[in-house]
Symmetry: C2
DNA sequence: TATTGTTATACTCTATAACTATA
DNA sequence: TATAGTTATAGAGTATAACAATA
């Protein structure tokens, strides 16, 4: 801190402010670049909020979709979460082991499973999503409620495709 | 389409529209959930635009930062890209092997490397960022220019912290 | 002692292939 | 023949630990 030989720029390093980080240049105007960086900010806040519940972001999302879609099949869940069927298995296993969901064979098509949240699963989902919402409000506290609603609308439209 | 045995809901599956996907419930209002899904849409478009240039998203970003910050050090680059020093090495190796950047020892601190883009690197950066911008414009064609600028502003503010 | 670049390694996330049981 | 769930495995992406050179 109080060093007599203050750190100086003796090399070729003109105009780059060490406090505010390097120049970002054209990438600062790329949507993808900023979506990722914003996502990392919000995600770390959400992960911290979920950790006390023993949930990861993906398992919380899966649980929430199961709550809102009783008897959904694992393959449908995988498609909704945009991941492979094979990777959803371990997530479902974990949720079932913790008695947050039940996994029963479909009567009409015995290849499929029907997933359903237990009462405990529903309660955990409600608490977890509320906690994540609070953590997101903190992470986006520089936006007004109107701006946040507008952001969600813009993001929904990007996901919707060229409509 | 014109099937006499129309697909019906014979199991317990009330009200879920198979065309539009399952109900998303509360997670649809979570910023993080929508940031990630939007990012996946835009990222795949960007990756496709970069593939002909032999660049991945991360290496294009690294190259761009090196172009705009001559003599930046690998550790500074890692911090700017929010990744570990150890993981930046292979990216720099690749860019140097392809003669897009040079890596020379700093004279003032011989522990550090000074990274600088070559003419070829600068040209590739310019072409690659332009191509990515075009791919992003296609992926976000449902937004007006004003909405896209607003989106960038909102995302910048989220990254800026609680200011 | 601390820091930079580096290597090795582990851990997570995601993707592919193959199997089974059912259709 | 095709599909749902599953397992095993491979490939990315990311994180930690330790080391040599330098400060």
């Amino acid at each position: 801190m109080s060093n007599s030989t203050e750190r100086q720029v003796t090399d070729a390093d003109p105009g780059r402010d060490q406090e505010r980080g390097p120049e970002q240049g054209p990438v600062r105007d790329l949507v993808g670049y900023n979506l990722k960086r914003s996502y990392l900010v919000v995600r770390s806040a959400a992960a911290a909020a979920l950790e006390p519940h023993g949930l990861r972001v993906v398992s919380m999302t899966a649980l929430s979709l199961i709550v809102d879609n009783p008897d959904i099949a694992p393959s449908e869940l995988a498609e909704a979460l945009q991941m492979e069927r094979s990777n959803i298995v371990v997530i479902i296993d974990d949720l079932e082991t913790r008695q947050l969901i039940t996994r029963t064979r479909s009567k009409s098509d015995r290849r499929r499973f029907a997933l359903m949240a237990t009462v405990r699963g529903r309660r955990l989902r409600d608490k977890a999503t509320a906690d994540v919402a609070v953590s997101e409000d903190r992470a986006t506290s520089m936006l007004t409620a109107e701006e946040k609603a507008l952001l969600l609308d813009l993001l929904h439209r990007i996901q919707g495709g060229t409509s």
